[in-house]
């Protein structure tokens, strides 16, 4: 059937109307009336900000969609892992590029993911996929002082604090369990867990302060 020019115009108007409604729905969905925000600040015992602390936020009493796996990188620069701490959703793929001129030999014997990357320079291996939640401790079999951590999480909201010790997220109103973790903190992890009910439109803030100083960061040094 051939449509007239007038019919074509009508069809275009209908399509535009449908597209407009879809856009409106998407906008409404993206910023639902029940949306809220959460801002977390993590401080050291002396009140200074703690950067690179892992924050995970789990809903309590209900389920939210699992976070989408991502691609991330754990670099090796000047015989150190960069970053020291990485948090990724379960199922994510992490590559281990070696930016040094010397060879590295990366391993993990953590139950959540055991693997070994034989001596290499550059980026010869495909990324390692992390299918189970947990903390993976990384080491280098050549440079014994090198150590880093990957936190594999199923929390729908996650991240690490910035240089100001801050992390924030937009999330639906509800009841949440917030966990803060750093590999060199001396506190029990359970002492840095908080539960919070966040109401619709709330701008919730939470400040957590460690009570003990961090353990010292690893430094380059020939092993005894």
């Amino acid at each position: 059937m051939r449509l007239s020019a007038r019919s074509n115009r009508a069809l275009l108007v209908i399509r535009a109307a449908i597209a407009g409604m879809a856009l409106l729905c998407a906008l409404l969905y993206a910023t639902p009336a029940s949306a809220a925000s959460l801002a977390i600040s993590v401080q050291l015992a002396d009140g200074k900000p703690l950067a690179d602390a892992v924050v995970t936020v789990q809903p309590v009493g209900r389920k939210l969609p699992a976070p989408t796996p991502i691609s991330a990188a754990m670099d090796q620069m000047n015989r150190m892992f960069v970053p020291e701490v990485l948090v990724v959703p379960v199922g994510s793929a992490v590559s281990f590029p070696n930016s040094d001129s010397v060879s590295h030999q990366i391993y993990s014997f953590s139950p959540a993911r055991r693997f070994q990357l034989p001596l290499y320079r550059g980026k010869p291996y495909p990324p390692v996929v992390f299918d189970h939640t947990g903390i993976i401790i990384l080491g280098c079999n050549i440079h014994d002082w090198m150590i880093a951590y990957i936190d594999v999480t199923d929390a729908p909201f996650y991240g690490t604090t910035d240089a100001q010790g801050a992390w924030s997220a937009q999330l639906p109103a509800g009841h949440y369990r917030i966990t803060v973790w750093h590999p060199r903190m001396r506190e029990q992890t359970s002492t840095l867990v908080r539960e919070l009910a966040i109401g619709s439109g709330d701008r919730a803030t939470l400040t957590l302060q460690l009570t003990k100083p961090l353990r010292p960061a690893p430094m380059e040094g020939e092993s005894y």
Partner: protein, 407 residues
């Protein structure tokens, strides 16, 4: 032994070509010195001086020429060869100071194993942590490290097991280390004959060292005379790059009654204990304290033919930015001669101050002043010093390093 050394050197040269071709790790260092000294000829060169360079050697000198290779053999084995040239005092222009095979399996369940076989340093010194067993703090080694460089080396097997507490909730790793060795049964002879000095030469494996004997021969520390293996064992607590605490017992188990009749060489029974600590603070500070005490004997205990000795040092170092380092070390040392007719003792102390500057990746400059005050029983034979003598040595070292060290 000369044939063995030459053979090892030829193997090292052949491996260099293969290593470079394979793109494995190697390092070539050239260290030149401008020296000003008022000391007597060094003990290592047949004199009585406690420093490396004498007054006659003031001027330009070769500090060290070093070639090191790390050849991976499969995934968890590697071959390490370290060859150096210092001066004409050794048999070959270049000699191997260390040559060993290392087994480095991946750690499992918080346990890490390291096994070495060949010729290498026992893990005693906490200051000689840089490549080629150099000190990252000063040019001259402490008195106790200088002695180890002079005549103590493991020719044998060493195993180290680390329990990786830092991979769980402990702030440190715990290590147990043990070695068995042979071919070091004349260790102690140079110390008894010349006392402690502050030097940075390392006797190549199976080479000779020290004061000239009356017949012109020099001491050959790397000899096996009685066929009995020696051992060492120790423990360490370590937070990598933060602190290390170590304790080690060494005994070469040489039978002091044993004699190599053909070559007229006797065995020296040498034992010592060492305790040491190295602490590092975040602002670039390093403190090392080490104490080593033992004795060497050429007759069974109680026969009054032994030389008890002890040496200790305290080192303080500060890294300034990423390119500069300032270090100060205080040494004390003593060797007592308990012969049938006691000769007295060699004793003294030394101050070392060093400033290091690394203008680039390949270059480094070090200015070091060393002042040693000592007296010695051996002086009585040919010199008539009334008391302690102070020797001063100032060196400016210019070092250029090439290669991809690190593996």
């Amino acid at each position: 032994m000369r044939a063995a050394t030459t053979l090892l050197f030829l193997i090292a040269s052949a491996l260099l070509g293969a290593t470079v071709a394979r793109g494995a790790d190697w390092e070539l260092d050239l260290d030149l010195r401008a020296v000003s000294s008022d000391a007597a000829t060094s003990v290592l060169d047949g004199g009585y001086g406690p420093t490396r360079f004498s007054e006659r050697q003031s001027g330009l000198q070769l500090g060290r020429l070093r070639l090191a290779l790390n050849v991976p053999l499969g995934e968890v084995w590697k071959l390490h060869l370290d060859a150096s040239a210092w001066d004409h005092s050794y048999r070959n222009p270049m000699g191997l100071t260390e040559a060993y095979l290392q087994f480095r399996p991946y750690p499992r369940n918080h346990l890490r194993l390291r096994v070495k076989a060949g010729g290498f340093y026992a893990p005693v010194s906490l200051e000689n942590g840089a490549g080629g067993w150099t000190s990252p703090y000063t040019l001259s080694y402490s008195a106790l490290s200088s002695w180890l460089a002079e005549e103590v080396r493991t020719v044998g097997l060493e195993a180290k097991v680390d329990w990786l507490g830092t991979r769980s909730d402990l702030p440190f790793d715990i290590s147990a280390i043990g070695g068995v060795f042979g071919w070091n049964e004349v260790a102690g002879a140079a110390l008894a004959g010349g006392g402690f000095i502050l030097d940075d030469r390392q006797t190549p494996l199976f080479d000779r060292v020290g004061r000239f004997e009356s017949d012109g021969a020099r001491i050959e520390p790397f000899r096996e005379i009685d066929g009995r293996a020696g051992y060492y064992g120790g423990l360490a607590l370590e937070a990598p790059g933060r602190f290390v605490l170590t304790a080690l017992r060494y005994d070469n188990r040489a039978n002091p009654a044993a004699v190599d009749a053909l070559e007229h060489v006797i065995a020296w029974h040498t034992t010592f204990n060492s305790v040491a600590a190295r602490l590092e603070y975040g602002a670039g500070w390093t403190v090392i304290a080490q104490w080593l005490s033992g004795q060497t004997a050429i007759a069974p205990r109680g026969s009054d033919l032994d030389w008890p000795f002890d040496a200790r040092y305290l080192l303080l170092s500060k890294r300034v930015g990423s390119r500069q380092r300032l270090s100060v070390r205080y040494d004390r040392f003593r060797v007592e001669s308990r012969n049938v007719e006691p000769d007295g003792e060699q004793s003294g102390h030394g101050w070392t101050v060093a400033y290091m500057f690394n203008p680039g990746k390949s270059w480094s400059l070090t200015l070091e002043g060393l002042r040693v005050t000592s007296n010695s029983y051996i002086w009585g034979e040919e010199q008539s010093h009334p008391g302690p003598v102070t020797d001063t040595q100032v060196q400016l070292a210019v070092r250029y390093a090439l290669g991809s060290a690190g593996y």
